[in-house]
């Protein structure tokens, strides 16, 4: 059982500091005791659901989140880690698709529809969700469920065995040298693979300290927390590093910082160079897949030609040279079992020998993975993956929109932006349109650049003429 392995680590590290946020610090022993106490509190509400109740957790980074995650596991339930920015309709779709019984969420955030609050453990709200006439069965081995953006129009729920979650953490610890003297400052949301696989469980198994940043990672906040915590590892999305280098020469040196981890592709070379020049620390590009866990690590990001070599327990295949990139295929000890809400789809993405087709294109240079592009419609904005099909479907459902195409463009700051071209009347109310999308999808899935045209240009095959569409955003 996953929780037994975690608790063993919690008791082993005793009085050391385990996790902190802006308001709370918990030692390892306190974390074990508090999660046990909250598990009992939760148990009082689990009667109607039997064993392995499905409990969604939707919240920002906090010690309360960590306590609740462990408490849900300890109570014998299966935690479903939702993106904290999921709106009510998105949450409802997931609850329906996955047959969630209960949802833990932060006060002040939109409540799930058709629900009733039954408790407020750790300052979060616990809502009972309506029972479903039919829901998909969980795999017998499933102990944790997380979500991926998918590419067919809705988030996919990946089921993980306890062993897969545990091995993801153990292999990250071994592959990256995480130790008890490390202090991890994590600004990525714990529900996201970047944080889940580099920070949450790895920190506790290694006996390290986990410091949780919450909200927008502006330079001032990150600098303050780096100074307060004496962090040795910093984990965040590219926007965090872009913000830090915007501080210019005022960025202080962080003597204790040994590793800075960002999600892969979108980090600009300029940010990388300026960050290392200011801090002496090279930014490590995290590469992982929601379905397969963490995959590579570059021992020296400065000299490594790509994203690093496979972590322990990872088999990775790609092209042999830059001239001949091929689909990246991976097999790991931390593979998800299947998609709960899309039967057969994950299995269909596996090769006969069990490698997962990531949707990335790339090649291996001296054993290090270099990415060259994508084979699917997933768009990466600031390190967050967005399913173009999902956003397109919502846009097409907006009043006055006849057709839509969603794409990635480079904005005038040289950054990544989510753009949409809409076939509609020129009088289309774009404020109402953004409200429409924002009510249905997470905020980062709302296109920031919108062009309205009479008709979407399409080629003879009927596919959108992307070259022509991209030109609409050229400055």
């Amino acid at each position: 059982m996953l929780i037994s392995l975690i608790e063993e680590a919690l008791w082993e590290h005793g009085d050391s500091v385990a996790v902190t946020d802006a308001h709370t610090a918990l030692g390892y022993r306190e974390l074990a005791e508090e999660s046990a106490r909250v598990a009992k509190e939760l148990a009082a509400h689990l009667g109607p659901y039997g064993e392995r109740a499905r409990v969604g957790i939707r919240g920002g980074n906090s010690t309360a989140y960590v306590v609740l995650y462990l408490a849900v596991l300890r109570a014998g339930c299966v935690p479903f880690l939702l993106d904290r920015t999921s709106g009510p309709q998105e949450t409802e779709a997931i609850a329906e698709d996955c047959g969630l019984d209960l949802l833990l969420y932060e006060p002040g955030t939109p409540p799930p529809v058709y629900s009733s609050v039954v408790a407020s453990p750790q300052g979060m709200l616990l809502s009972a969700l309506p029972s479903r006439a039919r829901r998909p069965d969980l795999c017998d081995t499933t102990q944790v469920a997380r979500f991926t953006s998918g590419s067919t129009g809705r988030p996919h729920c990946v089921e993980f065995s306890g062993r897969a979650v545990h091995r993801a953490a153990v292999n990250w610890i071994e592959g990256t040298g995480l130790g008890a003297d490390d202090r991890i400052l994590c600004f990525a949301s714990l529900s996201n693979g970047l944080a889940f696989n580099t920070s949450l469980l790895p920190a506790f198994l290694a006996g390290a300290r986990l410091h949780l940043g919450h909200g927008l990672p502006t330079a001032s906040r990150v600098v303050r927390m780096l100074e307060q915590t004496g962090a040795t590892r910093l984990v965040g999305f590219p926007a965090l590093y872009d913000s830090l280098v915007r501080r210019g020469p005022a960025l202080p040196a962080f003597s204790g910082l040994r590793m800075a981890i960002s999600s892969a592709a979108p980090l600009s070379p300029e940010t990388k160079e300026r960050f290392i020049a200011r801090t002496g620390v090279a930014i490590q590009n995290y590469y992982g897949a929601a379905e397969a866990g963490p995959l590579t690590f570059a021992a020296d990001p400065v000299t490594d030609p790509g994203l690093g070599k496979p972590l322990p327990g990872v088999s990775l295949r790609a092209g042999r040279s830059a001239e001949e990139p091929e689909a990246v295929e991976v097999r790991s000890e931390s593979m998800g079992t299947r998609y709960l809400n899309a039967p057969g789809l994950l299995e269909s993405r596996l090769t006969p020998d069990g490698h997962y087709r990531t949707g990335d294109l790339g090649y291996l240079a001296g054993g290090s993975l270099v990415l060259t592009g994508r084979t699917s419609q997933v768009i990466n904005i600031g390190g967050r993956k967005i399913d173009a099909v999902e956003v397109t479907d919502v846009l097409r459902g907006a009043e006055g929109v006849r057709d839509a195409v969603v794409l990635h463009v480079t904005d005038r700051h040289g950054g990544d932006a989510l753009a949409a071209v809409l076939a509609a009347e020129p009088s289309l109310d774009t404020v109402a349109l953004r409200r429409h999308v924002g009510a249905r999808l997470a905020a980062h899935k709302v296109p920031t650049l919108v062009q309205v045209v009479p008709r979407i240009p399409r080629g003879s095959s009927g596919k959108p003429a992307m070259a022509e569409i991209r030109q609409m955003f050229d400055r």
């Binding site: 927008l216 502006t218 872009d242 913000s243 005022a250 953004r434 650049l449 919108v450």
Partner: protein, 90 residues
């Protein structure tokens, strides 16, 4: 509104417009009632805007604690003005 307030507001409007991903005019911002959510201000735009306010005006904005108080131009002007008038911390 005093000249100083006018100048501060103009500066903040310029920062807000410069921080958005695409092209946005003051007229469009005005039509959106000076609300940042009405113009689809993304989290990346917010980070750029806060960075610029801090770098140019020396005012620390906390996106968590200030929250709703930085959701429109009017609120931003008020918060920045308050912070500028606060005595420097010891």
């Amino acid at each position: 509104m005093t000249t100083t307030q006018d100048a501060l507001r103009a500066r903040i409007v310029r920062i807000v417009l410069d921080s958005v991903e695409g092209e946005l005019t003051e007229t469009e911002l005005s039509a959106a009632e000076w609300s940042l959510s009405n113009i689809g201000y993304s989290s990346l735009s917010y980070i750029r805007m806060i960075d610029t306010v801090e770098n140019e005006l020396g005012v620390y904005l906390d996106p968590e604690e200030d929250g709703e108080r930085i959701a429109s131009v009017d609120d931003l002007v008020q918060v920045v003005q308050e912070r500028l008038q606060e005595p420097a911390s010891a």
